[in-house]
Amino acid sequence: MQRYYFDHNATTPVAEEVLTAMLPCFRETYGNASSIHHFGQSARTLVERARQQVAALLHCRPREILFTSGGTESDNIAILGTVRASSRSGKHVITSTIEHPAVLNTCQALEKEGVEVSYVKVGSSGVVSPDDVRAALRPGTVLISIMHANNELGTVQPLAEISRIAREAGAVFHTDGVQSAGKIPTNVDDLGVDFFSLSSHKIYGPKGAGAMYFRKGVEFEPIQFGGSHERGQRPGTENVAGIVGLGASAELAAHCLETEGTRLSALRDRLERGILERVDQASVNGGSPRVPNTTSIRFDHVEGEALLIALDLRGFAVSSGAACSSGAVRPSHVLTAVGLSAERAKSTLRFSLGKQTTPDAVDALLEAIPAVVGHLRSLSPAATR
C-alpha cells in the first residue's frame, strides 16, 4: 500500500543532509564535548558549529542558545527557571488556554508552588488578543508565555505586540516556537521575545534534541543540577549527535524557509479548498494568520477517531485531537478552548504538510476523503439524527 504522511506537526523524518551530518558523531567524533583532549575538542567544535546554525535560524548570538532534550524541556526551563529566579512577591504568570501541555502543565505545577497563573482565553479565531494579555497584567506578573504558532490550528500569535506589553510591564516573555521554527520567520528581535523554545524533530532533525534561546541578561535558574555543561545552565553530557542534527536541520530550515513556505501554503490551500468543495458540512477551524503547512478541518457528524483510522487503513496518516497515554483519542483542549463543542472537537482532523508532501499526495488524499467521510456518515447514527 502506498502510504502518505500528513502529520508533520507531530514529527518529521530526519532529512538526508541531517543524517549525513550526524553519522560521524556516533563512531568517529564520539568524544565528550567537555573533555580536554583531541576527541573532546573535535566534538566541541561540532557542538559550537551547531550553536551557530541554530542562532542563525533565530537571528540571535550563539551564546544565547542553550541545548536541551527538546521543546518540552526548553519550555520547562524557561518557565520554571524564570519564575524561580524572580525575587518579586505575589508572583504571577500569564499564558493562554491554547498552549501546548508542556507549557500548561508546567504552569499548573507552578500553581501548586503558590504561583498564580492567568490563562487568557482565545476566541474562535485561535489567536490570542494582546488586549486580553494586557488586561491580565498584575504588579507581580513575572512571566508571559504565549506560543508562536498553535500546533493544532496553525494560527500565528501576535508576539511582537504582546512582547511590547511584556516589556512595558517589566515581565519576561517566553514563546513556545516549536511549531513556527522552520515554517515562518523566527527573528527573536523582531518578535521581541526573551525565550524561544525549539525542537529538532519538527524540522527534519532527530528526536531528543532541542534548544532554548535566552536573551542575554535575562536571568533564569537551572531546573536540573549536575556538571558544568552548557555553563551549568543545563547540565548533562552534550548529546553531540542530536545537537549536530539539530544544527543541520536548523540550517536547512533557514535555507528552505521561503520556498518551502510558498510551496506548502499552495498545497495546503489546494487541500483545504478541495475538501470544502467535495465534502458537505466540512469547515476550517481557526482564522489567520497561519503557518503555511497546517489546516484543521471538522467534518460534522463524523467521529474523528473513526475517520483517522479509516484513513490510516487506506494509507493516509493524519491526526485528531490529542492522544491519551494509551494512544486513544481524547477531545483536544485547543479546539474546546476556541469554542468548539466536544462533539465538534471530536469530529476534527488536523492535516499538516511537509517536505514529502507532493501535489499527487494531496490529490490522493482529496480522492479518499469524500468516499471515507461519506461511508462514515452513512453508518453514523449521528448523521441521521
Partner: protein, 369 residues
C-alpha cells in the same frame, strides 16, 4: 468499501489475543482494536497500593494488546469509549445497586459497547465484521433464516449467558473464533502462535471495579457525582419482620448472600429479598430463598422470532448456576415472559439475566424483575 476485513476486539488478555492470532494464521485480514472504557485514575482512592486486580483499561493491558498486535504485524488502534461506557454501563450498574438489584455490567457492555459502538466503529473504518475472544458459537440456520447462538464447546468457559442480548444483525456481523475450542487448547495455541501474553493470568472480576469491591465503587462513584444522598443504613429483618440488626446500605447485598450479614441467629441465614423503598434487607433460612416462578422483561429472542405459546427450556439465572428445567410463557406484554421452574430454585435475583437454553442452543433471555 468492499472488503473482508475483520476488527478484533483485543483486551490484552490471552483469549482475545489468541482469537486474533488464529484469524491471522488463517490468512484473514484483521485490524486489532482495544476499547478504552474506564479511567481508573478517576477514583484513585479505590486502587490499593501495589496495584489493583481487575485492571480495566490499564496502560498495562493496552501495552499487552499492542505488543500482541505488533507481534502479529497487524494494524492496531485504541478507541476511546469512555463516555459511552460510563453512560450505558457504569451508571446503570450504580443505579441498580442503589435500587437493591444485582447488575451484570458485562451484558450491558456487550449490548451497548462491544456489539454496538465497537461494531459501528469497525464498520465505519472499513471492517464489515468483528471478532471477540468469547467462548460461544454463532451459526447461520439457512432453513430458519436466523443466526443462532450456542454455548461454547468448553462448557466450563461458556459465556453465552452474557450474550443473550445480541440481535440478529449483531450476530450476523460477529464471530467467536474460540467457540469451538477448549480453554486448554486456547492456551496451547497461544503458546504455539508465540502470543506474548500466553502465560498471563486471567481476571474474573468486573473490569472497572478494582479488587471486586463493588460497594466501595458504588459509594465513590456517588460521591464523585455528589449524589450519595442520605445515610444509606437500614434494618436487617426476617421475613416475619423481626429486626435482627442494621446494615450500612442495601448496595452491600445480593439475593442468596450468606456471608457478611453480621447477624448471629444459630442457623444459616440468607438474603432473600431487598426492599429499596424501606432500605430493608430481608433474611431467612435457605427454604425461603427458593422461588417457583418469576417474570423477566426486555426479552431478546435469538433462535425464535418471538414466543407465542409456552416453551420448555432450561433457564439459567446466574452465570455460575446450572440451567434448570422450566417453562417460559408469554405475557400480555410482548417483551415480558413468565418463567416457571419445574422445581423451586434459589436466588432469583432482580437485575440478573434469565437465559433460556435448549441444550447448547440459546433461545433467548431477559432481565429478572
Amino acid at each position: 468499501m468492499p472488503n473482508d476485513l475483520i476488527a478484533v476486539a483485543m483486551s490484552g488478555g490471552v483469549d482475545s489475543s489468541t482469537a486474533a492470532g488464529l484469524l491471522h494464521r488463517r490468512g484473514q485480514p484483521i485490524v486489532g482494536m482495544t476499547m478504552q472504557l474506564w479511567n481508573q485514575q478517576r477514583m484513585p482512592e479505590l486502587i490499593p497500593s501495589g496495584g489493583a486486580t481487575g485492571r480495566c483499561c490499564s496502560l498495562d493491558d493496552v501495552y499487552d494488546a499492542r505488543h500482541v498486535a505488533n507481534a502479529l504485524g497487524i494494524p492496531y488502534y485504541v478507541l476511546n469509549f469512555e463516555d459511552r461506557f460510563e453512560k450505558e454501563v457504569v451508571e446503570p450498574f450504580v443505579r441498580d445497586y442503589v435500587s437493591g438489584k444485582t447488575p451484570i455490567p458485562c451484558t450491558l457492555c456487550n449490548n451497548f459497547i462491544k456489539f454496538d459502538q465497537f461494531l459501528d466503529v469497525a464498520r465505519q473504518v472499513g471492517a464489515d465484521r468483528i471478532a471477540t475472544g468469547h467462548y460461544a458459537r454463532i451459526e447461520h440456520d439457512a432453513a430458519g433464516g436466523r443466526y443462532l447462538l450456542r454455548k461454547g464447546v468448553d462448557e466450563s468457559r461458556d459465556q453465552s449467558y452474557f450474550l443473550f442480548g445480541l440481535t440478529q444483525p449483531q450476530l450476523e456481523r460477529s464471530s467467536f473464533p474460540l467457540g469451538e475450542m477448549l480453554k486448554s487448547e486456547v492456551r496451547a495455541l497461544a503458546q504455539e502462535l508465540n502470543i506474548p501474553v500466553a502465560q498471563k493470568p486471567e481476571s474474573h472480576e468486573i473490569c472497572f471495579v478494582p479488587n471486586g469491591d463493588y460497594a466501595r465503587f458504588v459509594e465513590s462513584y456517588l460521591d464523585q457525582q455528589g449524589s450519595r444522598g442520605e445515610q444509606p443504613s437500614g434494618d436487617i429483618v426476617t421475613t416475619e419482620g423481626r429486626v435482627l440488626g442494621e446494615h450500612a446500605g442495601i448496595h452491600h447485598y445480593t439475593i442468596g448472600q450468606r456471608r457478611g450479614l453480621g447477624i448471629a441467629v444459630g442457623s444459616p441465614m440468607y438474603v432473600v429479598e431487598i426492599q429499596p423503598a424501606d432500605r430493608r434487607v430481608v433474611v431467612g433460612p435457605r427454604e425461603e430463598l427458593l422461588r417457583k416462578r418469576f417474570h423477566a422483561g426486555q426479552v431478546n429472542w435469538i433462535s425464535i422470532a418471538g414466543l407465542r405459546e409456552p416453551l420448555r427450556v432450561q433457564a439459567k439465572i446466574r452465570h455460575q448456576f446450572r440451567p434448570a428445567p422450566a417453562v417460559v410463557r408469554p405475557t400480555a406484554e410482548p417483551q415480558r415472559v413468565e418463567v416457571e421452574f419445574d422445581e423451586r430454585q434459589p436466588a432469583v435475583t432482580p437485575g440478573q439475566a434469565a437465559v433460556f437454553y435448549q441444550d447448547d442452543l440459546v433461545i433467548g433471555g431477559g432481565w429478572i424483575e
